[in-house]
């Protein structure tokens, strides 16, 4: 078995909304392992807090409880829940990628540059970075006429491909994927599955949210099923 690069133990996330004086439970008591060159699938009903696990690992959310032990490229182990902000930014730049369901990019930025952005950040020369972006976009059969325009006006499926290409391009050590094939037609989904297999073979560890049992069956080395978090009252008792 490949060595684990991420071990999540007892992760929980709830939101404290001050204005309404409300506690919103999101994820509860999640434990999982992700190994290099393998894919761990997160499954479960809507509202079980799957995305919130990914966001907690990426520090888009501050975890409410739990440890997230990550082994970096140099072999150092650190708890992502406690790591400093600059440490997290450096990991995001060099090691950890996240493909969300949303695409935030600069207005008017050409698609090719949106996709090449992670390589720009690593100091890859622009022409080379753009070439690699072009290769990836053509592998995903995004029509070439779209490469020079901003993804702002793209359809859901086109945007998703841009998002995936941007997540794949730097071949991160750990890649978080939030429903990577959700709005793709079967042919494009097939192509994305092929790219994910390629990344796995290259050693990338992946944690992915899937909804289709078929995709899970084909790609996952491990499956973690999440149950919805307990009701607020139960949660309050636990915290107290």
């Amino acid at each position: 078995m490949n060595p684990p690069i991420l071990q999540v133990e007892g992760y929980a996330k709830h939101f404290q909304l001050h204005e309404q004086n409300k506690l919103i439970p999101s994820s509860h008591n999640v434990s999982l392992t992700v190994r290099s060159g393998e894919l761990t699938a997160l499954i479960g009903p809507t509202g079980a807090g799957k995305s919130s696990v990914l966001k907690g690992i990426y520090r888009t959310y501050l975890p409410s409880a739990g440890r997230m032990l990550y082994r970096d490229a140099l072999g150092h182990e650190l708890d992502l829940a406690l790591a400093g902000e600059h440490q997290i930014l450096e990991l995001r730049r060099r090691e950890i990628g996240f493909v969300t369901q949303f695409l935030h990019c600069l207005p008017r930025q050409p698609t090719l540059d949106v996709v090449a952005q992670p390589l720009f950040g690593l100091g890859v020369a622009r022409p080379e970075a753009r070439q690699r972006a072009a290769d990836l976009l053509s592998a995903m059969s995004l029509p070439e006429r779209l490469w020079s325009v901003s993804p702002a006006t793209f359809s859901g499926g086109e945007r998703q491909r841009v998002n995936l290409a941007r997540g794949f391009i730097a071949r991160p050590r750990l890649l978080l994927l939030d429903e990577p094939t959700a709005s793709l037609d079967p042919k494009t989904a097939e192509c994305v599955i092929g790219l994910i297999e390629g990344l796995k073979a290259g050693g990338t560890a992946m944690l992915a949210i899937f909804h289709h049992p078929e995709t899970t069956r084909r790609l996952a080395d491990q499956v973690v099923e999440l149950a919805p978090p307990p009701a607020v009252e139960t949660l309050l008792k636990e915290i107290a």
Binding site: F15, Q16, L17, H18, E19, K55, R59, T60, Y61, L62, E85, H86, I88, L89, E90, H104, L106, P107, R108, Q109, F120, G121
Partner: protein, 276 residues
């Protein structure tokens, strides 16, 4: 990664100040005006670090003190307390302990500032090229031909039409004035740049080009920047980390996406929820 700036406990009080100023102001007191002596506590106890190539956002509503932070660091206004260390290669400068001449030197050579109001950053009575030449002269470049070439290259870089190099900035559009200001700020290739509401009041399309330009500069020159803005869109697109201010105090700091998606403080939650 190298640290560029370390700010500790920065404060600025306008007015006489009294022993009650601090406890009677801030987010809990819901004011920055001291009821005992009438002083304004513009900022108090502001601390942060900035690394090479990093863009830090300072967000908050009008009156939160966010502009005062950069104005103090750029020596526009002397702070009432606190310290700031600027790391320049192997040299460390304790900013507020320097004499006026040294402060001016840093301002002209190693820092850049872009103001919301181009009036503050540009001399409207000399040409666009002249504005840049002025900064180059202050930084000891003396050869006329070299200065003119450099000014042209900078204006081309910030997409100002070269045919207008000799025109007065007061005849330029707002977006173009901002680009001249950025060119001027970049003239000495400073490792540290302050941007104070630079896109506020510009057309959306012009805003986009300015944001583009700022990010390109950051990636190309590894310039560290402090971006002051009340615009959450600008914060999201430009910055990696952000601090949130209210009534002169820092109430929250974090990674930008975390502050926007999982804000912790009641005020930040309201601010983020109110964004269009």
């Amino acid at each position: 990664m190298n640290k560029v700036l370390e700010v500790r406990n920065l404060s600025k009080i306008y007015g006489p100040g009294c022993p009650h100023c601090i406890e009677s102001t801030g987010p809990e007191a819901d004011t920055n005006l001291c009821p005992h002596c009438g002083s304004v506590v513009a900022i108090h106890d502001v601390s942060f670090d900035l690394f090479e190539g990093e863009i830090l956002g300072v967000m908050g509503e009008s009156g939160s003190g966010k502009s005062t932070v950069v104005k103090a660091l750029y020596f526009d206004q002397a702070p009432s307390g606190g310290e700031a260390i600027f790391f320049d290669g192997d040299t460390q400068h304790e900013l507020f302990a320097l004499n006026a001449a040294r402060q001016r030197w840093l301002r002209n050579h190693r820092f850049g500032m872009v103001y919301q109001n181009p009036n503050l950053g540009l001399n409207f009575n000399i040409s666009a090229g002249g504005n840049i030449a002025e900064r180059l002269l202050m930084s000891d470049l003396m050869d006329y031909g070299a200065i003119r070439e450099r000014a042209k290259a900078l204006l081309a870089r910030t997409e100002v039409l070269l045919s207008r190099v000799d025109d007065l900035p007061k005849h330029f559009s707002g977006g173009m004035q901002q680009r001249v200001q950025i060119a001027k700020a970049l003239a000495t290739q400073p490792p540290l740049l302050f941007l104070d509401e630079v896109t506020t009041g510009l057309d959306l399309s012009v805003q986009a080009r300015i944001l583009d330009l700022i990010l390109e500069i950051q990636q190309e020159l590894k310039t560290a920047m402090v971006v002051v803005t009340h615009d959450l869109g600008v914060i999201r697109l430009l910055t990696g980390r952000a601090i949130v201010m209210k009534y002169g105090r820092v109430i929250e700091t974090g990674l930008t996406d975390q502050i926007l998606e999982d804000p912790q403080h009641a005020y930040t939650q309201r601010l983020v929820a109110s964004a269009l």
